[in-house]
Amino acid sequence: MHPAARETLLAAIDAGWADPRRLHAEARRAAALLDQARAIIAADLGVRPGELSFHVGGGPAAIAAGLDGLRWPLRRRGARLVAGAVEHSAVIETGTCAAAQAADPDLLDLVPVDQNAQVDLAAWDRAVGAPRTVTAALQHANGEVGTVQPVAAAYESCLRAAVPLLVDGQASVGRVAPPAAYDVLVADAATAGGPPLGLLVAPERVRFARSGRREDVEFRRADAAVWVPLALAAAEAWRQTRAVAPADEAQSRELTSRLRSAVTALPDVALAGPDEERLPHVVTFSALYADGEALVTELDRRGLAVASGSACTSATLQPSHVLAAMGLLTHGNVRVTLPLAAVAPDRATSVDRLIRELPEVLAGVRADLGAVGL
């Protein structure tokens, strides 16, 4: 977490602990602080405070609320959801569950992506134009491989078909400029160095209503009220991070470019995602004849924390649906997510060390598997 957000969170436990819906002085103070937090993030996103709701449960909770709120007003038209094949599991699972419940596989249409994870725009256009389609969901950028999607072009198709588009900015918004084309936008304060807190933008021009009866919290868009200190910490992180975002982004891009070049030079390693249309802070690659779990463990032993989309590193032992949809090798996968400079001031040193140690780590993991000379 951003150090300033941590300070704010600790202070807010004293100043903003009360339930903002009560009438006593402490509660009114908490309510005023919550309004302030909302105003800060809304202003940066270019929306009115009343268009932004906070969602406990992070980005995935905001995704679920966003999809539900778009689909419900259009239920007489149908219930079909169109989404990119590399969407966040919160999108895919919502669609899979709805399709399974209705015993109608047509209710979820996953649009294929190319080897860079970019959605096939012709297929997207056909999919959103199909009858009974009432919602579409596309990532601004993929958090696993960093690919930025052609959101503006995809939105054109949605406008033509009169299908509202949810844009998932969980991995991008906060660190890079938000997309302009969307009907509903989702973000997560954690991306800006805040605590995990889902952000949902539902502009007044968009028909939005949640199914079922909702408590009168967060404009009836969320399932539960937000804990005020969490919103305050999120807003502080947002303010700090956005103030230095261009510089942080430029440095991140320089560091990840360096890492990408180094990875390309390794034997039998495939880099994921495009060179240009990508997030500045994510690098993902797959190493042939290597074990993702072993790579992550060995790098961790050396003090380098990375993630992996390989099957052996997931609880279900299923490989990442993102890597599989791209046709990329799913084993030996390593994902490096660069923290913000404010969170990890030594990040450049860590990247240098990763570049230096990776060849040895990879050779060691391959040797342990007896995968030499293949």
Partner: protein
Amino acid sequence: MSPQGPRPVTGDAPIIVVDARGLRCPRPVIELARVARTAAPGTVLELLATDPAAGPDVAAWCRMRGHLLLTETSEPAEDGHHSPVRRLRLRL
């Protein structure tokens, strides 16, 4: 785990079967690569695997090495294996 040796099939080329059932990623692809190292170009290999990553990974390996993936089929789970058995056939 070990190749079960050439086996005559219809047509002229023998198929070498690589049994990687029960092995987890990246072992099935490594076993395949071991057999491929000594096999002549044009040889057809058939991999049996229960690992869910075998499908995408063999396809990716074929692309990286310039082999041709011919068919991929799936059979119901056998005793002792939770995953269905994938049968991937490719030409070196």
